[in-house]
C-alpha cells in the first residue's frame, strides 16, 4: 500500500488538471466540444488493456475523475468508461470496431442501466429482445441515461432466457423514441422507449450467461470513478466555502472567525477525508473477486454519498443566502453532488447491498 503518485501518475494528473482547468475557464456552450481533448489524452481507454490504448488501472481512473469533479467538467467521460469495459471484454468484431471509434472520439456510446420500475436494480431488465429471422426486435424502456441523446450508440441490456443479452442500438434508429432532459446539475440525460426497434443479428454482443458478471464489473468501476468525482467536487467545494467564510463579514467580523462555523467546516473536512479513504478502498477492491469487490464498492458509495449530502448541504448553509442563488458556484457543486449521490444508487440502496453480502470484509 502506497499513497504517493508515481512519475507517470503525476504526469497524468497534471495534464488532466491542466486540460479541465482550461475547459472550465472557456465555459463553452456544449461540453461535447471538449470531448476530443479527452480522447487526445487517451482518457476513454485509460483502464483498458494496452491493445486498446490503455495505460493505467483503477488508480489512474480515480486521478482523472477526481479532477473531473473538482472542475465540474461536463464532457461525457463516464459512459465510455462503462461501455469500454463491456465492449473490450464481450468480444466480437462489432464490439471491437465500435470501441475503436469511441476511443478515437468518432462515436459515442451510452450504457442503459435502469428502467421505469427497476429502482437502481439493473440486473433484471424487463426490456425484451425477440429473435427474428434476420435479427432482433427490441421492446422496452430505459430511463436516466446520462450523457445520452439521439446521436449516441446505446448499449442495451435485455432479458433473455439464459441471462442478460447486450444489444448495440445505432444512433437515430427507427422504432426508438427519445426524451432528452437536463440533469439537475445541467448535464444531458435521456429516457428511451423501444417500440419493436429492429436490430441486425450481430447487434447482440457477449454471452448472456456471462454478461451479468461483465456489467457488474463495469458498474463497480463506474462507482469507484463516481466516488472519485464526488471527492474532487467536495474538496473544491470546501475550499470555496472556506474562502467565502474568510471574506464574508457579519457583525463586523469575518464569519470564518465564528467557532460554531469553524467546527462545521472541520466536520466537513473529516467527512471528506473519510470519503477519500473509502474511495481508495473502492479502487483497491477492483482487484478482488466479484463478491468482495461489489460489497466493498457499495460500502464506499454509501459513505461517499453520505459525505456528499452533508458537505453539500452545509456548504450552502455556510454561504447563507448566497448559497441559495445560482449566481454562486457553491450551488452548482451541491447540484452535481446530488446527482452523483443518485447515480448507481442512493445511500440506502448501497447499504442494503452491503448487508445482503453479509457486511464489509475489509
Amino acid at each position: 500500500m502506497n499513497f504517493g503518485l508515481s512519475e507517470e501518475q503525476q504526469m497524468l494528473s497534471d495534464s488532466v488538471d491542466r486540460m479541465m482547468a482550461g475547459h472550465a475557464q472557456a465555459a463553452a456552450a456544449d461540453p461535447i466540444s471538449h470531448w476530443q481533448d479527452y480522447c487526445d489524452l487517451g482518457l476513454p481507454a485509460l483502464s483498458l488493456p494496452e491493445a486498446h490504448g490503455g495505460y493505467g488501472g483503477a488508480e489512474e481512473v480515480m486521478i482523472a475523475f477526481t479532477a473531473y469533479g473538482r472542475y465540474l467538467a461536463e464532457a461525457p467521460l463516464l459512459q465510455p468508461l462503462l461501455s469500454g469495459r463491456v465492449l473490450s471484454e464481450a468480444g466480437g468484431e462489432r464490439a471491437h470496431d465500435l470501441l475503436a471509434r469511441i476511443i478515437s472520439g468518432q462515436d459515442r456510446v451510452a450504457l442503459c442501466l435502469w428502467e421505469p420500475n427497476s429502482g437502481w436494480h439493473w440486473d433484471a431488465p424487463q426490456t425484451k429482445a425477440d429473435p427474428m429471422a434476420q435479427g432482433w426486435r427490441l421492446r422496452g424502456q430505459k430511463t436516466a441515461v446520462l450523457d445520452a441523446d439521439a446521436s449516441v450508440w446505446l448499449l442495451c441490456p435485455a432479458r433473455m432466457a439464459d441471462g442478460i443479452g447486450l444489444f448495440l442500438v445505432p444512433p437515430h434508429s427507427d422504432g426508438v423514441k427519445i426524451k432528452t432532459m437536463r440533469t439537475p446539475d445541467g448535464r444531458r440525460v435521456a429516457n428511451f422507449a423501444f417500440d419493436g426497434a429492429y436490430l441486425p443479428a450481430d447487434a447482440a454482443i457477449g454471452d448472456p450467461t456471462k454478461n451479468g458478471a461483465l456489467l457488474a464489473r463495469a458498474i463497480d468501476e463506474g462507482i469507484a470513478a463516481v466516488c472519485a468525482e464526488m471527492v474532487g467536487a467536495m474538496d473544491r467545494l470546501l475550499e470555496i466555502t472556506v474562502e467565502y467564510m474568510e471574506t464574508r463579514k457579519q457583525f463586523g467580523v469575518s464569519i470564518g472567525s465564528f467557532q460554531a462555523l469553524q467546527h462545521r467546516a472541520a466536520d466537513m473536512l473529516i467527512e471528506i477525508e473519510q470519503a477519500k479513504s473509502m474511495t481508495f478502498h473502492a479502487v483497491a477492491a477492483q482487484r478482488k473477486d466479484a463478491a468482495n469487490r461489489s460489497c466493498n464498492v457499495a460500502a464506499a458509495k454509501a459513505l461517499v454519498n453520505r459525505a456528499a449530502r452533508f458537505v453539500g448541504q452545509q456548504a450552502i448553509q455556510l454561504h447563507g443566502g448566497m448559497g441559495m442563488t445560482e449566481e454562486y458556484p457553491a450551488g452548482r457543486y451541491f447540484q452535481r453532488l446530488t446527482v452523483l449521490e443518485m447515480m448507481f444508487g442512493n445511500t440506502d440502496h448501497h447499504l442494503s447491498q452491503v448487508e445482503k453480502a453479509g457486511g464489509v470484509t475489509g
Partner: protein, 403 residues
Amino acid sequence: MDLGFSPEEEEFRAEVRSYLQQNIRACIREAVLEEQPLPREWNVEAQQILNRAGYAVPHWPVEWGGRDWSAVKRAILTEEIDSMGVPRPLPFNVALIGPVIAAFGSEEQKRRFLPAIANLDMWFCQGFSEPDAGSDLASLKTSAVREGDGYRVNGQKTWTTYAQHADWIFCLVRTSREERKQQGISMMVMPMNSPGITVRPIRSIDGIHHINEVFLDDVHVPAEHLIGEEGRGWDYAKYLLGQERTSMGNVGFSRRRLARIRARASQTQSRGCRIDEPAFRRRLTWAEIELQALSITQMRVIDEGSAGDTGSAGPDPKTSILKMKGAEMLQRASELLLDTMGPEAMCNGASLEGGDPLTEEGSERSAIVSAYFGSRKYSIFGGSNEIQRNILAKAVLGLGKRT
C-alpha cells in the same frame, strides 16, 4: 393542565377542514400538494375564500377582522390550511406588515391598508435584507432623506420573495445616523410601481424564480407612508418578527410532505426507496414522530406567548426552537421524497424537445428535485439556524454572560 384536545377543538378542526374542502378548488390544492409554483391569481383566490370565513387574519385585533381565538385553535387552523394543501394567507401581509400597521399605524393607515391586506387586494413584499447585511439587519444602508412632504429613498434590498407579484413593499430604511446602529431606522411602505423601483430576479438553486433584488433609486415616498414614528423601525421590526408564531413550525406543511412520501413509497410501482425497506421506513417513522412532537411544542410556545407579555419586546426566544425544528422537518421530508425517486432523480421533468412541464407526464419529478434544493433555504432565511442557536443559548439559557 389537560393535554388532550377538547371536543370543541376537535369540532373546530372538522369545521375548518370541511370549509376548505368545499370552497378551495381541487386544482389549487393539488398544485400545492405537489409543490408546483402557483399562479398569482390562485393565491389571491384562496386567501379571499379564507378571509370570507375569518380564517385569514384570526390573530389580528377583532376590530380589523381578528377572532380572539385561543392559541390552540389558531394552531389547529394553520395546521389544517397547510395539510389540506390550501395556499397559506400571504405571510408578508397577514403575519408581518398587517400586525405592525394594526399596532402602530395611524387610523388612516389602518382603514386604508388593513382590509386590503387581509383580503390580498394588496400584495406586500418585504424589504429588509440588504446585500452586505445578511442576518445583521442593524447595519442596513438604504437611506431615506427628508424632502418636502416626504422622503427620497436610495438603496438596494435583496432576497425579496415574490417582489415580482407584489403591489407594495414595506421597507426598513435609515432616516438618520445615530450612535447605536439600531436607532435611526424607520419603516415605510411604497407601491412597487413607484418611479425609481426596479426588480431584478434571482434564480435560486432550485431553478425557480422566487426571490429578487429590489433597487430603490430616488424613490419618492410621501410622509403618510411612514409607519408609526420616525426612528422606531427597529422596534417595529422586532415586533413584527414576534408575530409569526403559529406558522413558524410549518407543521401542517411537513405533515403534507410526509403523507405524500408515505403514499409514493407505498406504490407498487415505486421507483426508489420503498416503505417496505426497513431503513427507509425507519427514517420516515422518525420524521413522523418528531413532527408530532413539534406540533405540540408549537402549541406550547404559542400558549406561553399568549399567556405572557405580547408587547413590543420582540419574539419569544423559544420561537427559535420552532423555526429551527420546523426547517429541519421540511428539509428531512424533502430528502425522503428525493429518495423515493430512484434513478429518475437524475432527470429534470422538463423535456428539451419542448412541452409544458406543468402538464406533461413526469412533471412531479422536477418539483421533487426542486423542493430538495429549495428546502435548504428554510435554515437560512428569516434568521439562520446559527442565529437561532445564538438566541437560544443567550436569551433562554443565559450563556455567555461571564467571559
